[in-house]
Symmetry: D2
Subunit: 343 residues, 4 copies
């Protein structure tokens, strides 16, 4: 049994991680920290866990966390970087579900996150935990940067096109939509039911923090900078991301469905749908799958890819567990084989 610690267990990413970990057959939940809820039973705050765990929230303590095999940070951006070096020193391995280690360049990170990085020397060591491109680096990784939710959906959707140099990669468009849970569990007028329900809007058109993350991933694959317009939108629902991706094909004659099917044939958590089928976010609700369809409307020169994930699972906690499984040599699907809840 792996001993796992969770830092920051009261946000939606943290709750989802706890849900997955208490059902994981090879994990023992050793500690869950929360400064604000220390001393309270986790199941008192999240009654869906009643009967599944008796664990209490505790104050974060380096000794306790350092004694874990794996520590997950489900904290706001900027928290993990203040604790990770000490935990690594104590021998724990770390997966950060926030953004502290997602960008390779210190200058990029500081530009987009607006503060100085507390341990920039680790940016280079951190493995970007998108297993579909970095699986081989995970078994030896001490520190994994779990990808953002939008970057997971967008990158998996674009990879086969970029890897094969099939499109004009200077004018990529990603029109992405996310359920409200992506905005977190903080008290906020904009995400009240009365504000976000029966409503739809774009936001952060002029630069969302996930934009440099996606560009970095695609840059690495393409071997050069790519041009990407990324517009996120807020969906009036709890879970799910859909990204509709648009690019101009260099050549209209590639069998795109075959290309995608081959690319992801051995991936447990990427499902290329049968030709002509549309993905729906609900088919991955509570589940770690990314489902993808690729279309070439009216046989024209534009390719349309639709990629769906559950932002809290493949876009956060589920991918973190997938990364943990690979890091420790477990079955990649361990603890992640639940079917999506439908309807």
């Amino acid at each position: 049994m792996l001993k796992a610690g969770v830092v920051g267990g009261t946000g939606y990413t943290g709750i989802e991680l706890l849900r997955l970990l208490v059902m994981h057959p090879q994990v023992e939940l050793a500690c869950v920290t929360s400064r604000s809820e220390a001393g309270k039973a986790v199941a008192d705050l999240f009654p869906n866990l009643r009967g599944h765990t008796d664990i209490m929230f505790t104050e974060p303590a380096a000794d306790t966390l350092g004694a874990c095999d794996i520590v997950f940070f489900a904290t706001p951006n900027g928290t993990a970087m203040t604790m990770v070096p000490e935990l690594l020193d104590k021998g724990a391995r770390v997966i950060d579900l926030a953004a502290d280690f997602r960008l390779n360049k210190e200058s990029d990170w500081e530009q987009w996150y607006g503060v100085k990085h507390a341990c920039a020397e680790l940016l280079d060591e951190a493995v970007y935990g998108l297993p579909e491109i970095n699986r081989d680096a995970l078994p030896d990784a001490r520190l994994v940067a779990n990808p953002g939710c939008y970057p997971t959906a967008v990158s998996l959707g674009l990879l086969p096109l970029i890897e094969n140099d099939l499109v004009d990669d200077q004018h990529l468009v990603a029109d992405a939509k996310s359920g409200v849970s992506g905005a977190g569990r903080g008290a906020n007028v904009a995400t009240l039911l009365c504000e976000a329900s029966e409503n739809f809007k774009p936001y952060a058109v002029d630069g969302h923090r996930h934009l440099p993350e996606i560009r970095q991933t695609l840059h690495a694959v393409a071997g050069h900078e790519v041009g990407l317009t990324f517009v996120p939108h807020l969906l009036p629902m709890i879970r799910g991301i859909e990204a509709s991706l648009y690019a101009v094909l260099k050549n209209r004659d590639t069998d795109l469905h075959a290309l995608y099917s081959e690319r992801y044939a051995s991936e447990a958590f990427v499902d290329v749908l049968p030709a002509g089928t549309m993905p729906e976010t609900r088919t991955v609700r509570g589940n770690n799958m990314c489902r993808i369809s690729v279309f070439q409307p009216l046989a024209g020169d534009t390719v349309v890819v639709s990629s769906v994930i559950d932002n809290l699972v493949k876009g956060a906690a589920g991918q973190a567990v997938q990364n943990m499984n690979i890091m420790f040599g477990l079955s990649e699907q361990a603890g992640l084989d639940h079917t999506a809840l439908l309807p």
Copy 2:
């Protein structure tokens, strides 16, 4: 491994049953029938099952079904009764998730369901599958009538009061609210998103079919007829039932919370919440639990009980699996230990 057959796998009860059965460690899904979808892969219709089962819908056939250890009917009312006698003869055991065997008296059944019963001789043999009152009868049962969703929530909420003769049982009130999935997957204007969303209404005030079912259960417990006003309401959401139950106490001094806690102490799927805590439907979403709170507002003479279930799980498919587990001597919780999906 138990061989299980499902008749009618395309409604919401059927889909949920399939979701639970494909994850059940001791069940092999032998056949899923649907006249309308025969020949189609189940996972093509319900993509949440992609990767979990390759089974195809087939036409219902008595031989195939009769060779199963257990056959579930997830069909409209009136279907199971036409096939059950033959299947029992072939040695299969049956759980009917519809209403064909829920009422003991043929005349009651025919009054409320409006057609002649096709095998009324089985009404007496059928065990009403509410394990919390009929557990002992299940191991030997050939035929189990799985309770309705509202009756499960209401009966579990009222049982301790009725068993202990604590209230005026001639003026019980059950104000119940259900998510729209309770109305089924049939194409129907009234359950379109644009009709049922952002809307709330009572319905069937003058006699819902679940009323005689609840009365029969409470009658059996009380030893005499009870008076119950039952008003169902339609909630603008997918899953979940909450029943608020009202009764006038004969005596104000009973410790109601202790009473409920003791009554359900050994029940795996009834959770009496800590005193002062309110149940919420989302804490049982996708889960087989019934969570209950009991209140005596302002220490007056009226008791208020709130009982929540997922109408598709403890109110249908989950309770059916629970019944199967008991019938075949498996752990009662086998295949039912998932945590609720929250948020």
Copy 3:
């Protein structure tokens, strides 16, 4: 044209009041105050008002407000009472949409609201603005206490029964459900979309502040104290209240539908539905109507009344405008004749 001032225009009650006032043909919106938004255009915060008003939020100032014919308080409880005496002195008339003047007895008010009242001497003068019982007192009123949302739905639903002494009024039950806008526009975890959507729960079972308000109204009508159990629930939608009301009849033979129809025949904003018809909250969305149905299930001894309103309109801003219309001798329906938005 009446000159109207609105104190506290940034909550949901305030926004709705602004929506109604900018469309009212006999009202000129003279000032809208908000300490937090002073200096900002109202339409910048609420773009649905773009093109309908150019007014800016200002700091509340007694001189400006005192020069209005009518001042509405759409503030949190406890604010109006600190400003009302001065405004009355300056000759303005006041409608408080909060609770400061709803209870007649100072001791009751202080018990339920937990602070000392700042101008208890006005409690007696204040007219409780439920026009269907207090219309005659409104033309001369200087100060009107606009009723709470639940009390409006519950009181209108029970009035004909209580006025005619038809039921056991010591064991009344009001099972009420409200859309989330009733909880206000404050940032609050419990009313985030991810917490309140796809969820249903009772709350405040042991004593909601609207309980003494309803009891006071019914007491006045009955001539003695009544016994009422009131349980509010939170609906996963924006607008609407439904109250299901239960009472034991003294006599089963009254024609309840005729009784209700007669009682409300001349009321512009109470609509008794045709016999056998259920009310739905969406039929009053954005509209000042209260729609009511009355049932006697299976001709038994229990009466069931269902009453629906839009909590922000007849339950708040619309009723305030109705009160204003009566106070100033305008047509009671002026500015309130919009049809509900359906779907």
Copy 4:
């Protein structure tokens, strides 16, 4: 008073049209037809209209309709074309809210709608009722083709770019999202609350019928064929369309916000938002406005336009009333000056 007839008053477009017409100060609703509901009071089916009209549904009759000044068809595609010639002969003027007269070329129409056109000779005469480009043709029009919902949002969003030849018009992308009411009030599994709520998906990627309509409009403006990829998506909400539009700029230095502001300065129903502001669908709920923002993310070479409408108002019934107002010389805003319902 204009005498108005409505053919097909039971779908969502028809209900919305009735809501607007009963509040219109210069319109008398002369008849509302429905084969299925003839003889029933309109307000019995749509109780939001109780108290606003006593009109009954009648069978469609050419004499009655022909005696109207204006007849609206709120029928499925293919119905209006069978009745329009006779009504025009009788002197009525017609606005078709369906698609029968939206495409100029008979061959295009028959290709996309799959049946033979019943009066193709009228295609040329019919005025495409997007007032923002065809206002001058409306006063003399006998027959108006009311635009589709998506085409309204997309065309208004792209017009200033195309009119000024500012972008590569061979690779336009329109990523559009619609509330479920756009799919109509027919009983359909795909639009049940349990299917469409808490879910998001693209559909009709390989050719939606609104694609040729949009292309025709842009072609007329550009003077040549344009290339457009149009992907509609289904939003889990009732009302609202948002279209995110992407194009590559020929020149990065145009002041796009000024351009849009000037283009629509005199339009009553197009609102260009302040620079930096995002449109939200709820700000037009129940309202005839189209709100638009234009962005040039990170000052790059791609322009992003976001355009929102209420699909049932500016996308259907409201635009039809706007067209009627212009046709008959009324104020363009008559009966359309309601503020949007928010929240």
